[in-house]
């Protein structure tokens, strides 16, 4: 598989999967995201977007989480074929 450059999580579509490469957020948000399981190599899958288009629902570490675009755009992921 050729390695594409990582993209922001916010660009993934429902159904897409990816692996966390880097959390770019700073301060509190960064710490919170790390604690919730956004560590290097963690697998995630985007479930759906909210009816109004934001936030997104994803599955990471076996549980469901929602993130606003603000936060999901600071997480770089490597898309992975499902």
């Amino acid at each position: 598989m050729t390695q594409n450059p990582p993209i922001p999580l916010s660009l993934l579509q429902p159904g897409d999967q990816g692996e966390v490469v880097l959390v770019q957020a700073k301060g509190q948000v960064r710490q919170r995201l790390l604690e919730m399981g956004f560590i290097r190599g963690a697998r995630l899958r985007v479930e759906k977007l909210a009816p109004l288009g934001d936030p997104m629902e994803l599955v990471i570490k076996g549980y469901h989480l929602s993130l606003r675009r603000e936060e999901s755009s600071c997480i770089l992921v490597q898309p992975v074929a499902g």
Binding site: V29, P51, D54, E57, K61, L65, E71
Partner: protein, 723 residues
């Protein structure tokens, strides 16, 4: 001897259910000192040992960033705690174990509860409990909290640990790898130079927090005399680790903790099967792109009807009972100060407090139910986009909407919002949402000065104005009070669960009784104060009282038909009260304050009686609907229309005698909407925000904003040629 057990765990791990199962009804709800986080503690006995269980706020971590986390860490590190009981959600083990790694580092003995094992089994996850016990170094009891399975075993274990009969706790900590451990050791050496610092918390824990760049840990170190040495060592550690391991301290520590958790889960638990969970099937419907919003509106409508339509029934009973009591007392007791204190002060005051209880209990019960089922998180998920535009959180939506029924429980409903900033802003803007009490004022005023169609339009406009202002003020307060970025929206969508009826009932009872004890006294005091202001000194005037009694006797002596006699008695009573109120302290205040309100209520300075509006508005502090009954007294005209007439005598008096014009009447409505929350709302804000500061701020900005908008209404209206 008593053993203190701290109950720690993630949100949604079933901790509170377990707490209820352990302590039964024997528990107490209070606040943690200095903060508005609820503190739940209770006791149970086992084999002659009393155990105190303290339910910590649910947290994902102990990083001490949020109020909840600070409370949890502070308590866990205190000598008060003998034993930590870590509740783990068996169906979500890996993330739950992240917190466990931190709990183990705090150095207290830790026992574990593997809760909701049935959920895990349904997902095909089987957990090898003895293996997990070995790897975590503490005893583990599997439970199903909402069916009370495993509770006896848990009590027995805690009892044995208390009596020192079980010593199954070994010290297990995460191994952070050679490089990080080396730096941790160096940091610990520096930390131990300050004995006080060393004693305040485990040095290894502090060192880890420093590596994670934790603000609170840095603050603690900043106060130490070894601060400089520690900071220098930390800089050296960062300089070594970051290039060496390719990431910053926070990432490295989190990675190792998750590494530990992941390894454990792989060792002891089977992988979940792929079949669609009931939660996924429900979510396909409940957060559906098109159906999600209509379903949510349906849920909201149901909740609203339950609280404010069903809740109105017992509310009416209470109001009627107090009214009957008051009528009974005024008929039996001689007219005078004491009777007035009882009939017009104490009884309405008590009524003003108790009348809220049914609504609060029902609404808080509904909210607890939504939270416990997991739907609350979905509601926030669905509405967050809209609320974010307003500078608020998805969870702010429900309090704002419920505010249109009554602001008091709506402010309490803001408790579901985790972020203190979002919660405070929601509480501060909720009073702008027009409640059903204000509607009664609009109906009287609009009905007097407008045609039925225009009146309906004006009333609807008030509600939209209130919501619009809430949005605007939300944005404004966010940028004015909190300069930093809004708190992150990282919200778990927990699996759907059916809550136990018992838990919901306990919750409702708690909310009702907390309201009575904490907010009730403030409301009662406020109501009594307003009684005093609007009755003195006239009520103490013996001659007036005597005159009134003579009038009554004279009417009775006439031997009129019952209906006519009653009418005359009522008229005499109204005249008597009117005389008292119109010469009261509130009236004097009204005359003093009237010039300030002149631009909005009397722009042409033609009204002789504009000060009377001030009395009514002052009385409205107690509850907005009292504005109407006070006006009836002031203008000596009944608020109940005679048969076959559209307008009540009060409305006729307002139209013909008050000097208000349609335009100033509209300004009066605008002012009534905004000028101040009622005493119940103020008491609730005080309680929920933890200080008088925010409660008084709400009153102050309401007065200013209300005046400004009423003035704008008059000025613009006149510019457009209305009168």
């Amino acid at each position: 001897m008593t053993l203190t057990v701290a109950l720690a765990g993630n949100p949604n791990c079933g901790k509170t259910t377990l707490f209820n199962a352990l302590t039964g009804a024997r528990h107490h709800v209070g606040n943690w000192p200095g903060v508005t986080v609820e503190r739940r503690s209770g006791t149970f006995e086992h084999g002659g040992t009393t155990m105190e269980v303290v339910d910590l706020p649910g947290t994902y971590s102990l990083a001490a960033r949020s109020e909840d986390e600070r409370v949890a860490v502070h308590f866990l590190a205190s000598p008060e705690v003998d034993l930590v009981l870590n509740v783990l959600d068996a169906s979500n083990l890996e993330r739950n174990l992240y917190l466990s790694t931190q709990l183990l580092e705090l150095g207290k003995p830790v026992a574990f509860v593997l809760n909701m094992v049935d959920d895990a089994e349904n997902r095909g996850v089987r957990i090898d409990v003895p293996a997990l016990e070995l790897l975590l170094g503490g005893p583990i009891i599997p439970t199903v909290g909402n069916r009370e399975q495993g509770i006896d075993e848990l009590k027995e274990l805690l009892g044995k640990m208390a009596r020192g009969e079980s010593n199954r706790c070994r010290r297990i900590t995460v191994d952070y790898g050679h490089d990080i451990e080396g730096e941790l050791a160096k940091l610990q050496t520096e930390i131990c130079r300050d004995e006080q610092l060393e004693a305040s918390m485990p040095p290894r824990w502090l060192a880890l927090q420093l590596l994670e760049n934790n603000v609170e840990a840095k603050r603690v170190v900043g106060e130490s005399h070894a601060s400089e040495a520690i900071t220098q060592q930390l800089a050296r550690s960062f300089a070594f680790l970051e290039p060496h391991l390719g990431a910053d301290g926070a990432t490295l520590v989190a990675e190792r903790r998750y590494g530990f958790a992941h390894g454990l889960v792989k060792e002891v638990a089977s992988a979940p099967d792929d079949k669609k969970s009931p939660t996924a099937r429900l979510d396909a419907l409940l957060t559906h792109r098109l159906l999600g919003i209509p379903i949510f509106i349906g849920v909201l409508a149901l909740m609203y009807s339950l609280s404010f339509i069903l809740g109105k029934i017992p509310q009416d009973w209470i109001a009627d009972a107090f009214k009957a009591l008051s009528t009974f007392a005024s008929a039996r007791l001689p007219a005078g100060e004491l009777t007035s204190l009882l009939v017009d002060g104490v009884i309405p005051g008590l009524s003003a407090v108790i009348v809220f209880v049914p609504v609060i209990m029902i609404l808080m019960g509904c909210i607890a139910f939504l939270e416990d089922t997991g739907y609350m998180a979905r509601a926030a998920f669905i509405m967050d986009r809209l609320m974010h535009v307003m500078g608020l959180h998805g969870k702010s939506f429900i309090p704002l909407i419920m505010g249109s029924g009554c602001n008091v429980p709506a402010i309490q409903a803001a408790r579901t919002i985790e972020s203190p900033q979002d919660r405070l802003i929601t509480m501060l803007v909720t009073p702008l949402v027009s409640c059903s009490a204000r509607l009664q004022v609009y109906i009287v005023i609009a009905g007097t000065f407008f045609s039925p169609f225009k009146a309906a339009l004006a009333i609807i406009a008030m509600h939209f104005l209130g919501l619009g202002l809430a949005v605007l003020m939300g944005r404004l307060l966010r940028s004015a009070l909190f300069s930093g970025p809004s708190s992150p929206f990282v919200m778990e969508l927990p699996p759907y669960r059916l809550p136990m009826l018992k838990a919901t009932l306990i919750h409702m009872w708690e909310k009702g009784s907390i309201f009575l004890t904490r907010a009730g006294t403030t409301i009662f005091a406020g109501a009594t104060l307003i009684w005093f202001l609007s009755r003195y000194p006239g009520i103490a005037n013996r001659e007036w009282t005597l005159e009134y009694q003579q009038q009554r006797q004279a009417i009775v002596a006439l031997n009129l038909p019952v209906a006519e006699a009653e009418d005359r008695l009522k008229a005499a009573q109204l005249a008597h009260e009117s005389r008292i109120v119109n010469t009261s302290l509130a009236a004097r205040l009204g005359q003093k304050v009237e010039p300030i309100l002149r631009p909005i209520l009397d722009p042409d300075h033609k009204r002789a009686e504009a000060w009377k509006d001030v009395i009514a508005l002052t009385a409205g502090f107690v509850a907005k609907e009292i504005v109407v009954s006070t006006m009836a007294v002031i203008h000596q005209a009944s608020e109940e229309p005679k048969e076959g007439e559209r307008l009540s005598p009060l409305q006729v008096a307002l139209r013909d005698g008050s000097g208000l014009t349609p335009l100033t009447a509209l300004a009066f409505m605008v002012f009534t909407l905004i000028y101040t929350p009622c005493i119940g709302t103020i008491a609730m804000i005080r309680r929920e925000a933890g200080s008088w500061r925010w409660a008084s701020f709400t009153v102050a900005y309401g007065l200013v904003l209300g005046w400004g908008l009423a003035w704008a209404t008059v000025t613009l209206g006149r510019a457009m040629g209305f009168a």
